[in-house]
Symmetry: C2
Subunit: 625 residues, 2 copies
């Protein structure tokens, strides 16, 4: 077993595909991690912005969460329909492109692509950040821990889907189980205590208000809370990775994810009010995450606390994985439509899209390194991408149903229409309220990405237009080509090349370029003896010897000039350049030779036209005894 | 004028060579800097080792210097003879190889090569060190200053000889002039004062003795003092860079260098005794170089002091340049004898040996970076290389004269014999007394370098043996080749390649590799219509279509296997693989295509024999409007 087999796994054939598909049990961890982990930072993000309102602010978390849950449910019903309508994967790109056109499609695609990259960096650094705040001695190793996690996720995804699913089940279900228990016990106690439970470990006191309540504060808190919804589109994008019946299993997975997420968000919001848990200022001493305060309030700081917080850390770090499931797939679709290089369309040895996985890792690593592993400031950037994609997808579905008739289509149109309206409004709120926090970066990058995609597309179209043909084979060329063979000395290598050259034409020019400092043999000295004589004996036309001299010790210029002149002199004949060269037994031995052959080939391709054909006659050298 | 012309200078033709040769006025700065700058550290190195003897030690500096000067004069007479006997450059490598054989030649060559590299690093860091101790605020920038100086020297040398000569004249003659004046005035005052002059600025008191006088201390002081002799071989190595009459001008240059050096060494030694100047401990606070103390004692710390010390700094930093004149020349000779890659034998656009200059810079930069710009500890390493080369060169000259007869040859033999004996004895003293100080590194590196040179030589011999031939052109091959053309689809690119393939043989196999995930057209669907029909009409043999399928989405393996099988099935015929591919208008567009052609070419060269010829039919795409 080779090293690469051991690390990545043996190659898989396409007929093994079925074994690499998943059901809901793996689907929730693989496609739901991003959405579920949002519960760990969405409510906290909203609470942080309510902080200036003091105790009064806590009263607003319940209505804000209610609105978010309402939008979440709208989005849920919309995406259920999308899954049914696009069983081959109805990512926002596909839905927007097919129903609204190329530009909206690319808009959704680039928004999603940005969103995925940001999600990897933010997820990993949030997880490592939580770990580091629990074990402060790890603080100096933040960046290596982030990059290590990224490398782990990359490898896992290069190995393929099924194995990733297994790896993510334990932390995901532990997260849902423990946090669910915290919320259930908390709600039970709160209700038993008439709405005012006593915390086992008391949270910090709610600070006094510094600002009056205003619509702007509430809108910004709502916009931050909406990050809890990111990742919901993952399932609709990845329908093909499910077993049959695909659509039903994908819908069931989405339902499970949304139910869990709604329960977590609602529970957290209720308990924050009941236990009077305000956010603490991140970046200040004494900072504690909301989930940490909540768990401590319900269970105290014992084993249960450690397990719960441990699972939160793991789920945050692994939430990046949802991007690994979807980003390469998005790249594949974009490459298939010729908006990305064709290598993204190719499946690797493990049936995964290797190029997409590696590109995602590279970008995420660059972000992590650039920000030193602390990417909190990137959070505002990525809700924009998600909601832009949501909106375009819903709008696309509206268009989809408009083209159909019947009660089902009408009902569906209403559902998707409400979805488009709700997500579109949310998008506007986020874009406006977060513009100066960094949303402008996203709004700047998206058009640049679209330009890039279209530029690539134009290139492929240009090539396609020039090479496409339906004309059959043209009649064979009757004029023999002019053959040029560069030679430095009379060796077996030259002989080997010349023998081949003489097959091609009666018009062979052997060209020796002599630089002023050359002390090599002059081919013309023995040309008659070595070449012309034998040629006459065999009755073939003698090859012509051309000696070119060079003033500036340049080898290539005189040769290329000679070939360009031949090309001009014979406008109706092909020019064949035969390059004889050595093939050495070991690659490192190439550094001992001038490799003029390779360089000449590159120059010929750059300078000449399609009429110049390049022949390489390799002469193999055996290793020395 | 292009950027490279401006930085490096316009290309020079060989007939401009004469303009690039030099006379003694440039010869002393270019070839003597290394030797002359030794006066700045040789005496100091000896005095430092005499430090433990206290005031008594100062009494030994005069006899030690006398011995060093005696050996220097012996070496001088020997090298004068070498210059006369080897007007094309009698470097130690050449002399030792021609008279003693290949191994002693390589021994001298590798010793010198190491010596040159060390000299660059040590010279630059000594110069920058002196500058930094004069202007302490520059201390944090030691390494950038070193690398900047190295880059300056590299550029100057890439531009060529003459310009380097001009650039070095000012500091060299300033150094010789000011230091000569210091010594002349000092000696005059010392003699006027009856041998006990009064210092203008008093040197530190000589510390008390900590060790008794012993032969070991004296030998080590002598060995250190011998670093004053390094660089003396430079002229003999570089005779060809002088105008005619070369030999006379080279000898005159050597005489000038030695005379100046002897005067400086003798003067410094005499004045150290007269003014009671002991070395101070380098690396300790209060350290002052011997030349600084001497100049201050004679002239005080005024303008004259500043100018003198300034010229010392400049000459130390530029002394590295001697290596730049000689190392590339040594590499050229080694490459010419096929002990180094052939690129070292080629002259660049400015008639200099570009590869050698760049290699020297690279190694020196690596040493400077590795030691952070402080390379004092490397000083013991490089006297070994110099004296090993001296000894082998003299021994070679002894052998040279033994083969000749006459009074001149007998007299010369005696001179070179004494030279060989003196330098050989000195070598043993240095090797033994400096062994643990680092000389062992040199003694370890030299055999490794020799192994490396011989390994390269063996490679070239092996290739030469396999390609050399005197047999004339063999009769032409009558059996037509089997032609293979890989094709993915019916495009103009394929058509272009197929037209060429049909010229070569009646036996053309068009191979389509279909991977399981392919959704490209199946060539066989239209093969009859597009190819067979037209072929029949034109009366040519129809090319055969072969469709290969691949289980693991591999493209190359099935294709290579097919070609290897053809090779085995047709042991008496050539196989020609025609690779049609795109040539795109811009290089960066290549990243948008799979470049299978290039990869296939590499694989074919690796896996097949000389019977497999590779044809590339480039199809040029125009830039999009």
């Amino acid at each position: 077993m080779s090293l690469i087999d051991w690390v990545i796994g043996r190659p898989l054939a396409l007929f093994e595909q079925e074994g690499e598909t998943i059901g809901p049990a793996s689907g929730v961890p693989i496609l739901g991690l991003d959405a579920l982990s949002s519960a760990a930072y969405g409510p906290e993000a909203a609470l942080t912005l309510l902080l200036p309102l003091g105790a009064l602010g806590l009263g607003y978390i319940a209505p804000i969460t209610a609105v978010i849950i309402a939008i979440l449910l709208i989005v849920f019903f919309s995406y259920r329909q999308t899954i049914a309508a696009y069983p081959n994967g109805g990512g926002s790109y596909t839905v927007a492109k097919e129903n609204l056109g190329q530009l909206p499609g690319l808009l959704a695609g680039s928004a999603l692509a940005l969103d995925y990259v940001l999600n990897v960096a933010v997820g990993i650094s949030a997880g490592v950040g939580a770990l580091v705040s629990a074990i402060p001695s790890l603080l100096p190793h933040t960046l290596p821990l982030c990059l290590g996690t990224l490398a782990f996720l990359t490898l896992l995804n290069l190995r393929g889907l099924r194995e990733s699913g297994f790896a993510f089940r334990v932390p995901t279900y532990l997260f849902v189980g423990t946090l669910g228990l915290v919320i259930a016990v908390g709600i039970f106690r709160a209700i038993s205590a008439g709405g005012h439970p006593i915390a086992v470990a008391s949270p910090p006191l709610v600070p006094a208000a510094t600002t009056a309540v205003g619509i702007w504060v509430i809108l910004r808190a709502f916009a931050s809370g909406c990050t809890a919804m990111t990742g919901v589109e993952a399932v609709s994008n990845a329908v093909p990775i499910f077993h049959e019946p695909r659509v039903a299993l994908a819908q069931r997975t989405l339902t499970l994810i949304i139910l869990i997420l709604v329960a977590l968000l609602g529970g957290i919001a209720y308990l924050c009010g009941a236990y009077q848990l305000a956010a603490t200022d991140p970046g200040q001493p004494g900072y504690q995450s909301v989930l940490s305060m909540l768990t401590a309030a319900v269970f105290g700081r014992g084993l249960m606390y450690d397990v719960t917080i441990g699972s939160v850390v793991a789920v945050l770090a692994l939430s990046a994985n949802t991007s690994f499931a979807d980003f390469p797939r998005l790249c594949h679709i974009l490459a298939h439509d010729r908006f990305l290089p064709e290598s993204f369309a190719v499946r690797g040895r493990r049936l995964v899209y290797t190029s997409g996985i590696l590109l995602l890792s590279t970008f995420a690593a660059a972000l992590l390194v650039a920000f030193g592993g602390i990417t909190d400031r990137l959070i505002p950037l990525f809700a924009i991408g998600a909601f832009l994609a949501f909106t375009l997808s819903q709008a696309g579905m509206v268009q989809h149903w408009r083209k159909r008739s019947g009660t089902h289509a009408r009902k569906s149109l209403v559902v998707n229409g409400i979805g488009a309206l709700a997500t579109g409004l949310t998008l506007v709120v986020i874009a406006v309220s977060k513009f100066s926090d960094g949303a402008w970066v996203t709004l700047l990058c998206i058009p640049l990405l679209i330009l890039f995609f279209r530029r690539i597309h134009r290139h492929y179209q240009n090539v396609e237009r020039q090479i496409a043909t339906l004309t059959p084979l043209p009649p064979p060329e009757t004029r023999a080509p002019v053959v040029v063979l560069p030679a430095a000395a009379w060796t077996r290598v030259t002989q080997h090349g010349l023998s081949f050259a003489l097959r091609l034409s009666k018009d062979v020019h052997v060209v020796q370029v002599r630089t002023e400092t050359d002390d090599t043999e002059i081919l013309s000295d023995n040309w008659d003896l070595l070449v012309c004589g034998p040629a006459r004996v065999c009755g073939i036309v003698e090859p012509k010897l051309v000696v070119l001299t060079s003033d500036f010790r340049q080898f290539f210029k005189p040769l290329i000039d000679y070939i360009l002149k031949l090309e001009a002199d014979h406008p109706d004949r092909d020019i064949v350049v035969v390059i004889p060269d050595l093939v050495l037994p070991h690659w490192y031995e190439n550094s001992l030779h001038n490799n003029r052959g390779t360089f000449l080939r590159t120059l010929l391709r750059m300078r000449c036209t399609s009429r110049v054909v390049i022949v390489n006659t390799p002469y193999h050298i055996a290793a020395s005894g």
